[in-house]
Symmetry: C2
Subunit: 254 residues, 2 copies
Amino acid sequence: MTVGQSAGWIAVAGLGPGDEGLVTPEVTAALAEATDVIGYIPYVARIAPRTGLALHASDNRVELDRAAHALSLAAAGGRVVVVSSGDPGVFAMASAVFEALEAGPVEWRALDIRVLPGITAMLAASARAGAPLGHDFCAINLSDNLKPWALIERRLRLAAEADFAMAFYNPRSKARPEGFGRVLEILRETCGDERLILFARAVATAQEQLRIVTLGEAVLEMADMRTMVIVGSSQTRLIARPGAPILYTPRSAP
Amino acid sequence: MTVGQSAGWIAVAGLGPGDEGLVTPEVTAALAEATDVIGYIPYVARIAPRTGLALHASDNRVELDRAAHALSLAAAGGRVVVVSSGDPGVFAMASAVFEALEAGPVEWRALDIRVLPGITAMLAASARAGAPLGHDFCAINLSDNLKPWALIERRLRLAAEADFAMAFYNPRSKARPEGFGRVLEILRETCGDERLILFARAVATAQEQLRIVTLGEAVLEMADMRTMVIVGSSQTRLIARPGAPILYTPRSAP
């Protein structure tokens, strides 16, 4: 084994939601040592080019190919950072890398692999609005790209029955943009029209936009693929104040 | 209003789980500008003293008093950072600050209040073990200090029925250290003995210790107040490899 090969590693890193002030020093340090950065086009675009660093940007929906590519680069001695938005372990690249690892050559299992956590979208959106996830909550990916729609509906109904606050990733997939309308119907039926819902678009970027309405007022068009949606529990409240109100869930529950 | 008063603000900031490499630059910048840092003793102990900075450390279980103190300092013109471990919006100080804000003098509502997100314990623990939260999941505070035990049991059963991965904060409270034994019983009953469970103690500190077992092997003593517990969904898997195995949940569900 050459020195180059023994030095290879792979870090699956979260860049946070967009603002550089939300990128952890651990991730910044890994990027400074990397020979290769690999990821979805808009995430790789956030990395400053430099001599000795190869940027590998690929399209959406090729996560397994991208993961296998990253593992093979590390096996060949590269210091590889796979970049995700938010946190890599929440509906992002870490699981894809481990799927590829499990399916790939057994030698890959000896690689130095780390997951570097990041600020996931629901935490950034929650912070901007107040603290709607301050009590028990769940996180559901609303894309039915990799799971049956019936499972999404079942989880929504059980989460409502458990009175969790709910954070929704990918509310409007390209494949099924109208599915979110059905989600709103189920939520109105199970949680009632007065329940509070936050639409947080492009959080921690220049395009950030927050909107808090009731489920009775919520419509399909309030969400797009850049929107994080958070539905409060029955205890979630608004504090009126000068400027934007504060949305939060108290620490205690009856 | 004096200049001093108009310049006051309050930032509720997450310090992450322990490693300084997981503190965001946004939080570091707020701490550099602060006149006052306020929080639970071990979190305030993480802040380097400097001239012009007052450190206000208080004991556990006085969150509302601490929050009101922070708000009054900001109202008097202080630049106040309330520090939490992890993320302030997840079972931490942000909700307490908003409870105190709502109950306090109406003038407080005009204050400049920000929540600065951090790496919450479940994301750090998940990253260390692999990606057990890579699919739909829920987060439950197992302390029954501020909610009835019956609600915890109901949420556990519904979360198991929804086949969420589950992240548990505060598995063993001082007030009810044996309650976690009952949690393990309910989980074995609803998820079966073969379901995987991660005990992640003191993640991102020098005392870090990870243990992955099945529910059939899990016992009460594997958790203490510094332990984050993550139970996999039915799809969560282990990858055997040299050194520690990888625990992850694939992106797709049947």
